[in-house]
């Protein structure tokens, strides 16, 4: 390693060591991206525990890798909105907050929270049997404790499990998954570090966040951030959905375990 502060070596001081070594360093660093601990199509291990909060109707703590999310459900209660559309069907309202220690160095804007809120509301509206709760509102509170990638998918899964804990009628459980598309690479369930690394090195980087209903094989939530070409979306969608059946089996196990503990 040539140190730039070393004065005994005589070289042109306007060149950095990278310029001198560029013939030897690999030129296409982005195609050398490899994950160390799991395959590119494998998502991280996760943990879910229902019934963590005693004062709400239903709650769930969900953790995937280092991302930790808590969701709590309150309701169904009388609907605050007077519109006639909500006389025959119910209404879901969501509030998302980030813990102050989730990002100690930066402030989360209200736009980021509103973004998540609107997507979670729309996704849960397709999961809950709203016709069974006329003129009622179901409040969903999501707190994001730690962000290491996949915040939206974790929030969706946690909220859906909290609905199960609250015994609210649902068509299916909602499972979230994310995939990162960067030039020619696609990696499922990127961590924050992988996201930042590929955003800085790749020409174009995009993340797809998906909320999926495994029994119906339908997509309840879809958010794409960054810029990408539409031809890659089909392939990326298929890859991110392929890891959901395994997650579904594990989630059924967590729910069954919780119900057994509750009964005994």
């Amino acid at each position: 390693m040539i140190s730039e502060t070393c004065s005994s070596v005589s070289f042109d001081e306007t060149l950095s060591w990278r310029d001198l070594w560029k013939d030897i360093l690999p030129s296409k660093q982005k195609s050398c991206f490899k994950r160390s601990n799991r395959k590119s199509e494998e998502s991280r291990k996760f943990f879910a525990k229902l019934g963590v909060q005693s004062s709400s109707t239903g709650s769930c703590y969900y953790e995937i890798g280092n991302t930790k999310v808590v969701a709590a459900i309150s309701g169904p209660r009388e609907c605050q909105r007077n519109e006639l559309t909500y006389v025959t069907i119910g209404y879901i309202s969501c509030h998302v907050t980030f813990a102050n220690f989730a990002y100690p160095s930066k402030r989360i804007s209200t736009d980021a929270c509103m973004n998540l809120e609107s997507i979670i509301e729309d996704a849960l509206s397709s999961v809950v049997c709203l016709t069974r709760y006329p003129a009622s509102s179901i409040d969903v509170f999501v707190v994001i404790i730690d962000d290491d990638g996949a915040v939206l998918p974790s929030a969706l899964t946690a909220a859906s499990l909290a609905l199960i804990d609250a015994s609210i009628d649902c068509y299916d459980v909602l499972i979230g998954s994310s995939i990162l598309i960067a030039d020619d690479i696609m990696i499922v369930d990127p961590t924050k570090a992988e996201e930042t690394q590929l955003e800085n090195t790749a020409d174009s980087c995009s993340i797809l966040n998906i909320g999926y209903l495994p029994n119906f094989n339908q997509i309840a939530a879809f958010l794409q951030t960054g810029s990408c070409s539409p031809s890659k979306v089909a392939d990326a969608l298929q890859k991110s959905i392929s890891c959901i059946p395994d997650m579904h089996a594990t989630i059924r196990f967590f729910v069954a375990q919780y119900k057994n503990n509750k009964n005994s």
């Binding site: 736009d111 509103m114 509206s125 397709s126 997509i219 794409q224 951030t225 810029s227 298929q238």
Partner: protein, 288 residues
């Protein structure tokens, strides 16, 4: 959201599936747009867009010179604020409809601001010292004809393409940087370069089995679900989001996406044709 009876909904959906909508359009046809640019004399750029009979949006751009943020020392800034007039919706004093529309707008616009389709480096004057901050004010005058987000994004792109910033030169004097703003009112640089890759949002709704673009309020009420597709002129997508209340199959989602991308590219070409004469006139002015 307006109240429709079940038979009205069935009528609209069956019509859309046969490619025939209530005003005679096909599923992929847009309504005529009335666009008026550069009409507000106090702003650097402005545009007013009228769609259908009652969707009316006014976008005003006022530039400011600020110090760049520490985390992005070579980038400019854009701040978008939305406001809704109190008689925007057809119901008297309906705050919830206006609030919903404004939230939706804020969220959609903030999504593609953070992507790399918007090159904020072009707004930088002098790294770590001066940069342009564009204060964009979106006023929703009326929103009763649906398709608000699409209309706003077209108006925003039109305002940016025709926006003229005064020419600014930076002079270094003994380590301190000084800014000289030109006195000549016709000596300005246009933002057409910066806005060339700005995306336009297309909202594609699913009515029964049909994928419909540019819906009015009745069609939006009976739509199954919708996809907001921001498309750049080169056909890249920058922040697609599924909204509304039902789930979609994979094939539906992908075909709605491709419909949205095609519609977006056509809108970009249309906007370029409309504003070509205006932009070339501006270039003539600066030469004088």
């Amino acid at each position: 959201m307006i109240l429709l009876s079940e038979s009205e909904k069935q009528h609209l959906i069956a019509g859309a599936e046969s490619d025939l909508r209530c005003d005679g359009r096909g599923c992929l046809d847009n309504r005529p747009i009335t666009l008026c640019v550069d009409s507000v004399s106090t702003a650097a750029g402005s545009s007013r867009l009228r769609l259908g009979s009652s969707t009316d949006v006014l976008v005003i751009i006022k530039p400011d010179i600020v110090t760049p943020l520490n985390s992005a020392a070579n980038c400019g800034q854009i701040k978008i604020t939305c406001e809704c007039s109190s008689n925007a919706s057809r119901h008297y004093e309906s705050r919830s409809e206006c609030d919903q529309a404004m939230n939706m707008l804020n969220v959609t616009l903030s999504r593609f601001l953070s992507s790399n389709a918007v090159d904020l480096k072009k707004l930088c004057i002098e790294e770590s010292h001066f940069c342009w901050c564009l204060n964009v004010e979106v006023s929703i005058i009326e929103l009763s004809s649906g398709s608000l987000i699409s209309a706003t994004s077209i108006a925003l792109k039109a305002a940016l393409l025709t926006c003229n910033l005064p020419r600014v030169t930076v002079v270094e004097r003994a380590g301190e940087f000084e800014l000289n703003v030109t006195d000549d009112i016709y000596d300005c640089c246009s933002l057409a370069d910066f806005a060339a890759n700005w995306p336009i949002v297309v909202s594609v709704h699913k009515l029964g089995n049909a994928h419909v673009v540019d819906c009015n309020l009745e069609e939006e009420t009976c739509s199954h679900s919708s996809l907001l597709v921001p498309v750049t002129p080169t056909g890249r997508i920058v922040g697609v989001c599924k909204t509304d209340h039902q789930s979609l199959t994979q094939t539906s989602l992908l075909s709605m996406l491709s419909v949205g991308v095609e519609a977006g590219k056509k809108l970009h070409q249309l906007l370029d044709v409309i504003l070509e004469s205006h932009i070339s006139e501006n270039k003539l002015l600066t030469r004088i």
